[in-house]
Amino acid sequence: MSNGVDLFDLSQKEREAQAAYRRHVLCCGSTACLSGGAQATQDAIEAEIKERGLEQDVRVVATGCMGLCSRGPLVKVRTRGEDDVLYADVDADAGRRIVDEHVADGQPVADGQLSLQHPFFARQERVVLENMGEIDPNRIEEYIARGGYRALRDAVTTMTPAGVIEVVQRSGLRGRGGGGYPAGTKWGLLAKAQSDHKTVIANGDEGDPGAYMDRTVMEDDPHRVLEGMALAAYATGAKHGYIYVRAEYPVAVRRLEQAIRQAKRHKLLGKGLFGTEFEFNVEIRIGAGAFVCGEETALMASIMGQRGTPVLRPPYPTERGLWGEPSMINNVETLANVPTILRRGAEWFASIGTDTSRGTKVFALAGKLENTGLIEVPMGITLREIVEEIGGGVAGGKAFKAAQTGGPSGGCIPIKHIDTSMDYDSLLALGSIMGSGGLIVMDEDVAMPEVARFFMRFCMDESCGKCLPCRAGTFEMYELLDAICEGRATAANLARLETLCDVVRTDSLCGLGQTAPNPVLSTLHYFRDEYEARVVPDTVAAAVAADAGGASAHERSA
């Protein structure tokens, strides 16, 4: 393939090659399943197939994430003319049995089957994750066979850059990294900037505890990220792109590097794409482990080899960004939406979701639920639907207490708001945020001050130390929360905590500090009684401190 225009040929060939097999055994090869032994399962399946001489007839594929991570390793058997059958908790023995009975004899194994009509799957709507669990992320052919790079080809050969921006604008796509800024507006700002050295940057520095949406997209459908970036570049006039990936995601780095090489080989990246003047190159930059580098100015500093600390805005990156030139930072999930929007149209995308939050959102569903994993749902779905239907309800028959969204920058949603619509504005109104997609469900046994302490510890550890309110404030707040949790705090300490929340939120330089008090404010708002129940009278606090052999925290004068 020489100039990328014969995508259709390649796609056709790949489909024919796949159609030659009667059965496909799709083995989830994503991080969660791998850590559950998926490699051993796949090896056993392959060995068994070889032993039975079925290689010509059956194809085994290591795919990306199938979603229901709590039941991994997952294996799906796909047979021509039949419905897919999904198996959960497949160890090596179960894998061999699947080959013996289902693959060889066509008799699905009764044990371990999971219905694909289960609400966990049926209630989802997959846009960003449409290829997850379907394709081998190591092969560009499979991405192309499912319509990949067609949006880019059509945009570059038949649309103007302004036309692309107009589609993104009309789709209503908003930033999926947490802020929710309209993507089309941001693209328009970069397009307007005058420079020959514009850059688009994919932010893959996902760092919220428990969140792995972006990691999964980068690992399991890397070409989707590249295509989204190329579309952004074409629309805005950028020639260069960076993907900023945290070092903790080595598989994502490897898959992206491979995808870049493949895309270059197929002339989908580089110069003169699709026989036009359009050129675009992508490089990977690896983070060094700082959460704050997800903040766009810190991220750019890190790319430039500087210490990853935020700088004041304005100027915004679209005016003055990387190397002093106009730059645009989009979250990985935002960019991953774009190829599908271009392919299926702005109207289709805008028909999903609510009036102000169009499309779907990927959540890393975690916590005390029967089913946890990676889900993609239309925005506007209620929290109750996610918890009770998709999540299968709270595990162990316990009662739902609250759900935390937005990680260390977010807040909690108590049971009285469980029917809230999951969209940007509703969550904000409840004192939480959509965030990047972390969704942690807590049951009745969870103590909310301890939740707040956990997140404050995270912010304290991750504060870069540049501005005073965040550097010192997160530490002081952590100490106070610790004192409250351990029964050492007085009412005055609680009041002090609230003052600090206000100071840190108001005065911090970047988003990390400005949102660090949110988990405290939110739990205080909905569960104040839990804080007050732990506060002790001054005299008791003094006695506890004396017992511990020192003065109580925050009670000494300096």
Partner: protein, 241 residues
């Protein structure tokens, strides 16, 4: 370029475009508290003590980094700002070991002056035990991290005015501290020219000349800003030639 006029604490101020609110405020006698800002080096807006309220913006903004604009209405001394400054300063005191009675900078310390100005006479926070050790490896100067407020004036003066880039910041959050030559003892930092600009810009007693005792630190605070403004004048003259 036409000037702009704005209001700062109900004073009418004329200013040039590009000036900061802090610079304009000085001309009407309003001294906005601040630690990291210093004439002659770039603006970082990190200490957050100079936060001011600008009508029409949702949250306070740093006066040092906010450019003046026509018809801007700025308040520098509201009750909330005063309260926040006090808390911020208290936290600053709690972070380090600021014991004036044994400090070289006693009487010439910007932190001390600010505390008096803002009304911080005690700290509601527990000062931690000192985690970092003093660096006395340089023949002429010393650095005491427990007195450092991380204003990074020294980092900027060293990079932007002296061009040596000796100083940097290492560590995150409360572990943040200054390092010479990416972590060498100061005395072994080959890039250091021993010019002393870092010492001259230090607002506290964190950087000092050896041989100075309690209250003896008297530095040329204006050294860096004077150099910078002279250079600017000189380069303007070159352009005219």
């Amino acid at each position: 370029m036409p000037g702009v006029s704005l209001r700062i604490d109900d004073n009418e101020v004329d200013a040039s475009p590009g000036e900061s609110v802090m610079q304009a405020a000085v001309r009407v006698g309003v001294k906005v508290p601040g630690l990291c800002q210093m004439d002659g080096v770039s603006v970082v807006g990190a200490c957050r003590l100079c936060m001011v309220e600008v009508a029409g913006t949702p949250r306070p903004r740093p006066a040092c980094a906010t450019p003046v604009a026509e018809a801007m209405d700025v308040h520098t001394d509201t009750e909330q700002l005063r309260e926040h400054r006090k808390v911020l300063l208290e936290m600053l005191f709690a972070e380090g070991q600021h014991v004036c009675a044994v400090c070289v900078a006693n009487g010439a310390c910007e932190l001390q002056t600010l505390a008096a100005q803002v009304g911080v006479d005690h700290a509601n926070f527990t000062p931690p035990p000192s985690r970092l050790t003093m660096d006395l490896s340089h023949p002429r100067f010393g650095y005491d991290p427990s007195r450092c407020v991380l204003c990074t004036r020294c980092v900027r003066a060293c990079a932007e005015v002296e061009g040596a880039f000796t100083w940097g910041v290492a560590g995150r959050g409360r572990e943040a501290h200054l390092v010479a030559d990416l972590g060498r003892p100061w005395g072994e930092a080959e890039s250091c020219t021993s010019c002393g600009k870092c010492v001259s810009v230090c607002p506290t007693g964190a950087m000092f000349e050896k041989g100075t005792s309690v209250g003896q630190r008297r530095v040329k605070r204006a050294l860096v800003s004077t150099l910078t403004s002279r250079r600017e004048r000189e380069s303007a003259r070159e352009v005219l030639k």
